[in-house]
Amino acid sequence: MSFRNRLQIVLILGIFPAFALCSDLEEAWTKASLFLFNDAQRVVSRSTEEGRNRDYAQAILLLNTQPKTEANIQQSAGILRNLIEAKKDDEIGISSKYYLGRIAQIHQASPDPVLAEKIYRELLHDFPESPEASQAVVKLSLIRLYSGLTRDQARQRLAEVEGFSSLVKGNNALVCYHLLVGDYIIRFGGSKEKALEHFVIAEQAGIRRSTSRADTEIRIGMLARELGKKEIAQTYFKKFIGEFPRDSRTYAVQTLSAELQSGVQK
């Protein structure tokens, strides 16, 4: 492994001792994490390592190897199917199943949301505790809410999607799921009380991305203010002001907070 490749790993892992053992696959995943997909693909292709991990890496990297071709996507799907056939209940097998769903949903030239939905539901049924199942819930919700329907039809599906909430495990998936549903409600209609609940759950689960956190804190404050839940509104307005003093909306939020405090709401 060249010095430059080791340096990349040092950078991605912070102060991790990169001069320790470092395999081709680790190098490939490092490159993939840095958006260098073709380079990552080359590392896997020339690697002498064998086994499920290598095949899995090859399948995933093929999904975004440039130029992106349908042949690559189908080759990737083929590898993933083989991996599942060999062993469907280890980490690789479960992830492979998830990515077959992703190929059907978004990667292939003609997306097949029905097939993607079927795969996600199987994943949920067979491995409900896996992280992939929780991400599958998020993707399934996207399909149910946005694929080719009128607003009225989609709104009817909202109740069904809200029913998925107990299937979501882990803070990261909770954030993704509740932001998605809360956001849908305030855009397409539904109970504002429910939207507020979704945003609060997402916020409490710990939103990593600062811009999403800023938007969510304001949204909670604004929704709570509209619903007359002044305490919640004030809590989140103050949280936003403390956390984002240099946001162009801070002054507006300070004004709203002061209005709430004084009881004069414009």
Binding site: L7, L11, I12, L13, G14, I15, F16, L25, E26, W29, T30, A32, S33, L34, F35, L36, F37, A57, I60, L61, L63, N64, K68, R102, I106, H107, P111, Q135, V138, L142, Y146, S147, T150, N171, N172, V175, C176, L179, L180, D183, I186, R187, I207, R208, R209, S212, D215, I218, R219, M222, L223, P245, R246, D247, S248, R249, T250, Y251, A252, V253
Partner: protein, 535 residues
């Protein structure tokens, strides 16, 4: 025939001489750079405004004094060729050790060719030793927490900047005093318009051909767009903001326009256009066809009393007008909440709180002296380094505790105020159709009605075109982010003890779901509006 031969001979001789000079320069440079005891680093940028190169020279000299075994070379590149130059250098792996990030840069190039600096920006900057910043992470020594250097898609810091910028009104102090008796132009819109009328009267009476404001395609936008925005401020509470106090184009304003929830005839929009129309009349005729240099020329030649520009032009303007007149700096005029004509839609002044450090130097992966380049970058963005830069360049500081020289105080960002809410031009296509109609707004026979009539037939379709281009970007981003996220998850499996990696993988997963939701929602809206879908 003989003459032809002579010309050919001269031509070939010139080519030969040029070749020899180039070869010599290349050879001598590589010889200097490979000198056994000296490490040479080069840095490039396109900031050719007066004072900036000199400021970098000062930093370079200071750094070389501290590190006699290092040679730092500044290589400014003209703005017009910067993108092509940059791509060639990066692909050829001949790039300098530090490159100003901005023009010609996208996520892919950043990821492929530049070293992420995240690890380093979380460590203290050693050049801040002995100050109250010595134990603080480098990024927290920045006034904006280094947000300007953070790439929201790649979730990494790729640069460290030296300056931030605001737009202000520059004015000729003597001319203003002579014509109006004022020391500075008023900030209140109505009073400002009265001043402009006074200047025009003066010009007519004396035959001096002085105009109130020097305009050009470049400068006019800086003054007219914020004026328009003041009338849209209340939109932060509109349904298009989805409770975030930030109206959105995709999903909000765009679909609302198609659904006729708002039209170009909306009173706020008419009011904003009226402001632009009135202010535009105070610039020279045909200003939309003029370039940045033309407007500066008008101002320097004292044919205009004022010009709107960014703080980046401050040193240049001061230098060009030195000995001719004194330049004053004032905020852009805006209608106040007491304005008789325009107060209805105004909430208050526009906030500059989210001002970010601009651009900054990144380190290409091909740099052979990464450590030295990083060290130089740390030096230039230490409190001392930034002070040297600010004092000479006339640009605003980015590091906490740097003293703002008296002449830069008018550029201090205004932290109190309301966010910009809405602009007509969303992306390339809406911008194009708006620009194509703007002459109707400012022509003698035109006005707000003519502009709206000219824009109306093309605007809805332009929004759809912008939507499509947005969708293409969202689609590409979804695919890229997904594979990259999987890369992070796999690395985390190999190193489960790495909490930073875990945080990054989780943030990336959030980004992936957010971008994908935007994509599907955009496709949905486009379909719903009856426009052809785009994958």
């Amino acid at each position: 025939m003989k003459l032809n031969r002579i010309f050919n001979a001269i031509g070939f001789t010139l080519i030969g001489v040029c070749f020899l000079i180039s070869a010599y320069r290349m050879f001598s440079r590589s010889r200097q750079e490979t000198h056994s005891n000296i490490t040479t680093i080069r840095f490039s940028h396109w900031q050719l405004e007066a004072g900036v190169r000199e400021a970098f020279d000062l930093l370079t000299q200071e750094y070389m004094k501290m590190h006699p075994n290092v040679r730092v070379i500044q290589e400014p590149v003209p703005e017009k060729v910067y993108t092509n130059w940059l791509i060639t250098q990066l692909i050829g792996e001949t790039a300098p050790d530090l490159i100003w990030i901005g023009q010609g840069m996208n996520d892919e190039r950043l990821a492929r060719y530049f070293v992420p600096l995240t690890t380093y920006v979380n460590e203290p900057n050693p050049y801040n030793q002995g100050t109250d910043l010595e134990k603080i992470a480098w990024r927290d020594t920045y006034l904006d927490g280094m947000q300007g250097s953070y790439n929201q898609n790649l979730l990494e810091y790729y640069s460290a900047s030296n300056a931030m910028h605001v737009v202000r009104l520059f004015y000729n102090q003597e001319l203003l005093k002579k014509i109006s008796g004022l020391d500075a132009p008023p900030n209140d819109y109505e009073a400002f318009i009265r001043l402009c009328d006074q200047i025009r009267d003066y010009s007519q009476k004396t035959g001096s051909a002085i105009i109130p404001i020097a305009g050009s395609q470049y400068n006019a936008r800086m003054m007219l767009t914020p004026l328009f925005s003041t009338q849209m401020q209340k939109m932060i509470f509109s349904p298009s903001a989805f409770y975030s106090l930030r109206p959105e184009w995709s999903g909000g304003l765009a679909t609302d326009y198609w659904n006729k929830a708002w039209t170009l005839e909306a009173p706020e929009i008419r009011s904003g256009l009226q402001l632009m129309h009135e202010m535009g009349r105070n610039m020279q005729p045909g200003f939309l066809q003029l370039q940045r240099e033309d407007a500066t020329f008008y101002f320097v030649q004292q044919r205009a009393v004022m010009i709107a520009s960014g703080s980046w032009d401050s040193s240049g303007i001061h230098q060009e007008t030195k000995g001719l007149f004194h330049v004053g700096i004032a905020p852009l005029p805006i209608p106040s909440s007491q304005s008789p004509k325009f107060s209805k839609y105004v909430l208050g002044p526009v906030s500059e709180a989210n001002l970010r450090a601009a651009g900054g130097f990144g380190i290409p992966r091909c740099s052979k002296s990464f450590e030295v380049a990083l060290d130089f970058q740390r030096f230039t963005t230490s409190r001392m380094g930034n002070q040297i830069f600010v004092d000479r360049s006339g640009w605003l500081p980015v590091i906490r505790g740097v003293n703002i020289p008296e002449e830069l105080k008018p550029f201090q960002p205004r932290l109190e105020g309301y966010p910009d809410a809405f602009n007509f031009a969303w992306q390339a296509d809406t911008k194009r159709v708006v620009d194509n109609s703007l002459d109707k707004l400012y022509s003698v026979s035109g006005g707000v009605d003519s502009f709206i009539e000219a824009l109306k037939p093309n605007y809805g379709r332009a929004i759809a075109d912008d939507f499509r281009s947005n969708i293409r970007t969202q689609y590409r981003n979804t695919l890229r982010i997904e594979v990259s996220t999987e890369g992070l998850k796999q690395l985390l499996k190999l190193h489960p003890e790495e909490t930073k990696l875990e945080a990054k993988a989780e943030e990336m997963t959030e980004v992936l779901n957010m971008v994908e939701t935007d994509l599907l929602r955009s496709q949905y809206y486009l379909r719903e509006a009856g426009y052809e879908g785009v994958k």
